[in-house]
C-alpha cells in the first residue's frame, strides 16, 4: 500500500510538470464533442451496470457479487491502466515496434491536451478521444468474465485482466486502429470493435473456459434472476448506440447510419432467435431474445459504419442463427463450459461480423470502402486475414497468460469454495439477505 502511494506521488510530480498543448478552441466542433461526451458515458454504462446486470442475472445467487465485482474492478483498473500506458501503447502514431505497438509519447497522457488531436478525431478534444477509447479497453476484458464465471479465483482474475490488456488488447488495438498499425495499413476495417473487442475477447473466452475447466455440480442451475439479465440486455442495447454510433467520432450522417443499423441488426437477431426457440424448444424465451440481441449487436459492430439498413438485417439475422447453433448445439457437443457464452455470442458474432463486412461494405455509406457485393472482393480477403491473425494471436497469448498465472497462483477456487459460492469466499459478502 505504501509503495503504491509513493508510486502515485511520483506519477503526480511527473505530470505536474507537463505542458499541455493549449490550442483548445481551434477546430473543435461542439456538436461532435457533445455526442462523443455522451457516447463515452454510454460505453462506460455498458460495463457497469449493463454487463453486470446481464451476466449477474445468469449466475447462481451465491456468485452474483463476484460477477459484479469483476465488472466494477475492471472498470477501475483498466481506466487507470489506460491513462498510464494503455492509450499510448495503443494509439501513439510513433511506435516502439513499428506497426505493432505504440511508444510512450502519451504515457500518463502527457502531450494530450484539451485541444484536438492532429491524428485522430480532429474535431473533438484529444482528451475526449482518449477516454472514449479507454471505455473500449474497459469493456473488452469485462466480456471475458462470462467464460470463467462462478469458479475463478479473484486474485488470478485481476492479474489476468491487467496482463491481458497489456499483451493482447493494447497491441491488437494498435494494429487495427492506430494509424501506425500494420493491419490498419493493410486495409483491415473494424468500425467499432468487431475484431479488437469481440473477436479478441471471444477467443480469450474460449481459451479461458477450456483452461479453467467445467463448473462442478451435477446439473445446470437456472439463472438466478432473469429479470436482471433482461434489464442488462436492454441497457447494453442502449449503450451500444454510444459504442457504434459514437465510433463515427462525430454527430453526423455516419453516426446516424451506425445508429440505425445497430438497432435493426439487434432487432433482426432477436426475431431469428425467437423463431429458432419456437422451432427447437417450442416456446419463445426471454433469455433467448436477450441473447439474440447481443449476437446481433456484436456482429453489426465492425460493420456499422460501412453497411446499409438492408445489410444490417441480414447480418443481424445470420449472426443470430450461427450463434444459436454454437450455443445450443456445438458447445454442448464439444463440452467446454463457456458459462455465460462469452465465446458463443461475442466471439462467434464478432468473427461473423468482421468477415461479412468485407461482403456488404457499401460505398454509399463511406465512399472509400466497398465489399464483395460492390465489386471489391479484396476487402473480404483482407477481413478474413485480419480476423484470423487476431484469432491466432489472442488464442496463443491468452493460453500463455493463463498458463503462467496457473503456475504461479492457480486459476480456480477450491471445490469447497465453489460449493459455498464466490461471494462469501472471495469477498466476505452476500448479495441478498434471506431473513431479516
Amino acid at each position: 500500500m505504501k509503495r503504491f502511494k509513493f508510486l502515485l506521488l511520483g506519477i503526480f510530480t511527473l505530470l505536474s510538470q507537463l505542458v499541455f498543448s493549449q490550442d483548445v478552441t481551434s477546430k473543435i466542433n461542439s456538436g461532435d464533442t457533445a455526442w462523443m461526451l455522451i457516447s463515452t458515458a454510454l460505453v462506460m454504462f455498458m460495463t457497469a451496470p449493463a454487463l453486470a446486470l446481464f451476466y449477474g442475472g445468469l449466475v447462481k445467487r451465491k456468485n452474483v457479487l463476484n460477477i459484479l465485482m469483476q465488472c466494477f474492478i475492471t472498470l477501475a483498473v483498466v481506466s487507470l491502466l489506460w491513462v498510464i500506458c494503455g492509450y499510448t501503447l495503443s494509439f501513439s502514431p510513433k511506435s516502439l515496434i513499428p506497426g505493432f505497438i505504440g511508444n510512450f509519447d502519451f504515457a500518463f497522457l502527457k502531450n494530450v491536451g484539451l485541444g484536438a488531436s492532429d491524428t485522430y478525431a480532429t474535431t473533438i478534444p484529444h482528451l475526449l478521444f482518449v477516454i472514449y477509447q479507454g471505455m473500449f479497453a474497459v469493456i473488452t476484458p469485462a466480456l471475458i468474465i462470462g467464460a470463467f464465471a462462478e469458479r475463478m479465483k479473484f486474485s488470478s482474475f485481476l492479474i489476468f485482466v491487467i496482463v491481458w490488456c497489456i499483451f493482447v488488447y493494447f497491441p491488437v488495438a494498435h494494429w487495427i486502429w492506430s494509424t501506425d498499425g500494420w493491419l490498419f495499413k493493410l486495409g483491415v476495417v473494424d468500425f467499432a470493435g468487431g475484431i479488437v473487442v469481440h473477436i479478441n475477447a471471444g477467443i480469450a473466452s474460449l481459451v479461458a473456459a477450456i483452461m479453467i475447466g467445467k463448473r462442478k455440480y451435477l446439473k445446470p442451475t437456472p439463472p438466478h434472476n432473469l429479470t436482471f439479465t433482461m434489464f442488462g440486455a436492454a441497457m447494453l442495447w442502449f449503450g451500444w448506440f454510444g459504442f457504434n454510433a459514437g465510433s463515427a467520432l462525430g454527430a453526423n450522417g455516419l453516426a446516424a447510419n451506425a445508429f440505425v443499423v445497430t438497432n435493426t441488426a439487434a432487432a433482426a437477431a432477436v426475431v431469428i432467435w425467437f423463431i429458432l426457440d419456437l422451432f427447437f424448444v417450442k416456446k419463445p424465451t426471454m433469455l433467448g431474445s436477450a441473447t439474440g440481441a447481443i449476437a446481433g449487436l456484436a456482429a453489426i459492430t465492425p460493420a456499422a459504419g460501412f453497411v446499409d439498413v438492408g445489410a444490417s438485417i441480414v447480418i443481424g439475422a445470420a449472426s443470430s442463427l450461427i450463434c444459436y447453433f454454437m450455443v445450443v448445439f456445438v458447445k454442448n457437443k464439444i463440452g467446454y463450459d463457456d458459462a455465460l457464452d462469452a465465446f458463443g455470442v461475442h466471439g462467434i458474432g464478432g468473427i461473423f461480423g468482421s468477415i461479412i463486412v468485407g461482403v456488404f461494405a457499401s460505398p454509399l455509406i463511406q465512399s472509400a470502402y466497398s465489399g464483395l457485393l460492390f465489386g471489391n472482393p479484396k476487402q473480404l480477403f483482407i477481413q478474413v486475414f485480419g480476423s484470423v491473425v487476431v484469432i491466432v494471436y489472442s488464442l496463443v497469448l491468452t493460453i500463455i497468460i493463463f498458463k503462467v498465472i496457473d503456475i504461479f497462483m492457480g486459476l480456480r477456487v477450491s471445490e469447497k469454495e465453489e460449493a459455498m459460492g464466490l461471494d462469501i469466499t472471495q469477498h466476505n459478502e452476500r448479495g441478498y439477505t434471506v431473513i431479516e
Binding site: P220, P222, V281, T285, L287, T291, Y324, V328, F329
Partner: protein, 113 residues
C-alpha cells in the same frame, strides 16, 4: 392438540384462507416451499438446455388446533384447495405435545387459539 401441515397450490391460498376463516380457524403460519410430487414438473429451457424434474412452487400451511378442530380444518383445507388435478397437495397431521403463547406464557389448549 394436533398440528396440521398442508401443502397446497399457490393460487388456492386465498380460497383456503377464506374456507379456514369460515370454519373459525384464524391462526395460521404460511411459507413458500418447492414440491416434487406426482405432478410432472414443468420443463424449463435456458439457452436450449433442458431443465426437467424441476420442483414446483407450493404453499405450506402450518396450523395448530385442538382436537375438535382437526376435522373441520381438514374439511376446510380440502374445500379450498381441491381442484381435482394432480398437484393439489397433501395434508399431514401430527401430535402436538405442548403449545405456549409467548405473549402471555399461557400453555396448552388455551394457548392455541
Amino acid at each position: 392438540m394436533k398440528l396440521i401441515i398442508a401443502i397446497i397450490q399457490p393460487h388456492r391460498l386465498e380460497e383456503v384462507k377464506d374456507e379456514l376463516y369460515h370454519a373459525g380457524i384464524n391462526l395460521i403460519t404460511v411459507s413458500e416451499v418447492l414440491g416434487h410430487g406426482r405432478q410432472k414438473g414443468v420443463t424449463e429451457y435456458y439457452r436450449g438446455t433442458k431443465e426437467s424434474g424441476n420442483l414446483l412452487r407450493k404453499i405450506r400451511l402450518e396450523i395448530a388446533v385442538n382436537e375438535e378442530f382437526v376435522e373441520p380444518t381438514i374439511k376446510a383445507l380440502i374445500k379450498g384447495a381441491k381442484t381435482g388435478e394432480v398437484g393439489d397437495g397433501k395434508i399431514f397431521v401430527y401430535d402436538l405435545n405442548e403449545c405456549i403463547r409467548i405473549r402471555t406464557e399461557e400453555r396448552g389448549p388455551n394457548a392455541i387459539g
